[in-house]
Amino acid sequence: MLSETERRELEEAVKHYPDKRGAAIDALLTIQRRRGWISDDLLLDIAQFLEITAEDLDSVATFYNLIFRKPVGRHVAFMCDSISCWIKGCERVQEQIKNLYDVELGQTTSDGRLTLLPIACLGQCERAPAIMIDQDVHGDITPDTIEQIVEKYK
């Protein structure tokens, strides 16, 4: 069930578009910010709010990689694996994350702390390689510095 606060936020989002459906992505992101991910129940509630079918909304939710239809950890780390970061050794940083936290791309650590996902170029190419954890971007990362960075996210 959507809370009153969440409903009010959705009402706000809808104001930016000529029809409710236009706010589909805003609505999914808004609820995900509070709930962490979009469960089937939430999907149904949001679809009802937007006056579209759940199937229609799910086709949108599953298309966009920043909308999670499965649970994620308390923190989500987005590892840039595009070319500028690849040249500067992102694969070795990723290997180090795997050694330290026993997690591969697409997985969550067993303690539910961190989900590791690949991401298209983060636009931080002048300080490659880069990683974004939650909303924070960290550039010029190395296998030696990555632990210190990840440890800030408990």
Partner: protein, 434 residues
């Protein structure tokens, strides 16, 4: 050398306040509109200035605008959309602008809206640009509070409303018709063209979608005129360009320079040349959908008119350098994996062809490719050429592959003859480098 777009951006990464922006001449062109500069005058100025779209396509902005229906019978509302879905690998110029000088985008969009009599704008921002989102939201709120947005601009009868749309990922959103679907809350698959968005776009209404950097140019053109704008450039295309460099150079970064600056000047003077111990082999001049340029091309002016089509195109102007300690096949494999992952899946040649290309390139890196595989790669560059797919994603993916097959063919052949990647046994050297 003038740098109208970036001269006031704070070097420490903090944003410019509205007060600073106005003090340095920001929103001044709105007074020109009030003083009688008509929409058609703005259109004429932009056409005469020779402004070309900065998102990679380089389409002349004045021509793009000329297709928008005008006059009392034109459909209403019309929309202005800023494409801030900056996901082209190696490209970070729009982030620099949006983070450093958010009001410049708003002013540019108001001007475009005025010129085209379009009263609503959207900034389509990639979801990962959280700092840009925060600063743009702040700037939009300030512009509303000051009456630049949401109120009739005195003396014009024109008012403009602006919304920020934060997206949720997927590279294909940068394609303008896919972006329109995304803004409507749908899957971001491209639409058939024609009809073009200028006549049938967002919610079926006339819509102009332009790159963020393009909008930043508009206030300066209106304030200083077409002749001044041409004087900024080295070539027939007007204005400056934000160029960038990433890869193993001494100073990766971005610089606003005259359009038509050569790759050699950018790489050697601004990026400081190659990092210690590595040598230049090639460069993608503007994102990964452009063809490699090699040593013999470095003195060509980098703009939208000077590069011969058989050589390549400028793209976004943010270049990625291939050095001699990086395997060109591995480099291209990284690009093709990206394209395969980001294909929207709508048309079969792209959905099936790109993963196939990535698999073949993997077989080169793993050392079990044959001469037939090389021929298959050559064939894909034709099967996925323009005209064979629904949009430009797959043809864009073929540009670096085709040029790599041309300039670095010996490296592909060595992977076959040696049965392994010649670079993969050099971990010690790589460790020293990074």
């Amino acid at each position: 050398m003038e740098r109208p777009l970036t001269q006031h951006i704070h070097p420490d990464g903090t944003t410019r306040t509205l007060r600073e922006y106005v003090k340095d001449g920001g929103y001044r062109c709105l007074q020109k509109l009030a003083a009688g500069l008509a929409p058609k005058d703005v259109q004429r100025l932009v056409t005469e200035a020779g402004l070309r779209g900065r998102g990679g396509g380089g389409f002349p902005t004045g021509t793009k605008w000329s297709f928008v229906p005008m006059g009392p019978d034109a459909p209403k509302p019309k929309y202005i959309v800023a494409n801030g879905d900056e996901m082209e690998p190696g490209t970070f110029k729009d982030r620099v602008l949006m983070e450093g000088d958010s009001h410049g985008l708003i002013e540019g969009m108001i001007l475009a809206g005025y010129a085209l009599d379009a009263e609503v704008g959207y900034i389509f921002l990639r979801g990962e640009y959280h700092l840009s989102a925060q600063r743009l939201n702040q700037a939009i709120a300030e512009a509303y509070a000051e009456g630049y947005l949401g109120k009739t601009i005195p003396g014009t009868g024109f008012r403009f409303d602006l919304h920020l749309h934060s997206s949720a990922g997927r590279y294909i959103c940068g394609e303008e018709t896919a972006l329109i679907n995304a803004l409507e809350g749908k899957r971001a698959v491209p639409r058939a063209k024609p009809p073009f968005p200028q006549t049938v776009g967002l919610w079926g209404q006339p819509t102009v979608v332009q790159n963020v950097e393009t909008f930043y140019n508009l206030p300066h053109i209106v304030n200083h005129g077409a002749a001044w704008y041409h004087s900024l450039s080295h070539t027939q295309d007007g204005g400056t360009k934000i160029y960038g460099v990433s890869g193993r150079v001494i100073h990766p970064g971005w610089w606003e320079l005259p359009l038509g600056t050569t790759a050699r000047e950018i790489l050697e003077e601004h990026a400081g040349g190659m990092a210690n111990g590595v040598r230049f082999r090639g460069v993608l001049p503007g994102g990964i959908s452009t063809a490699f340029l090699v040593e013999k091309h470095l003195d060509l002016p980098l703009d939208f008119s000077s590069l011969p089509p058989q050589v390549g195109r400028l793209g976004t102007g943010t270049m990625i350098v291939l050095d001699d300690h990086t395997c060109p096949v591995g480099f291209v494999l990284n690009l093709e994996r990206f394209f395969a992952r980001e294909s929207c899946g709508w048309c079969t040649p792209c959905r099936e062809g790109l993963p196939w290309v990535a698999r073949i390139l993997t077989s080169f890196e793993e050392g079990h490719a044959s001469k037939d595989d090389l021929a298959l790669l050559d064939m894909h560059t034709k099967w996925l050429a323009p005209g064979h797919t629904f949009c430009g994603l797959a043809p864009g993916a073929m540009a670096p592959l085709q040029s790599a097959l041309q300039y670095f063919r010996e490296d592909f052949e060595q992977h076959i003859s040696r049965g392994r990647c010649p670079w993969s046994k050099k971990p010690a050297q790589l460790k020293v480098l990074v």
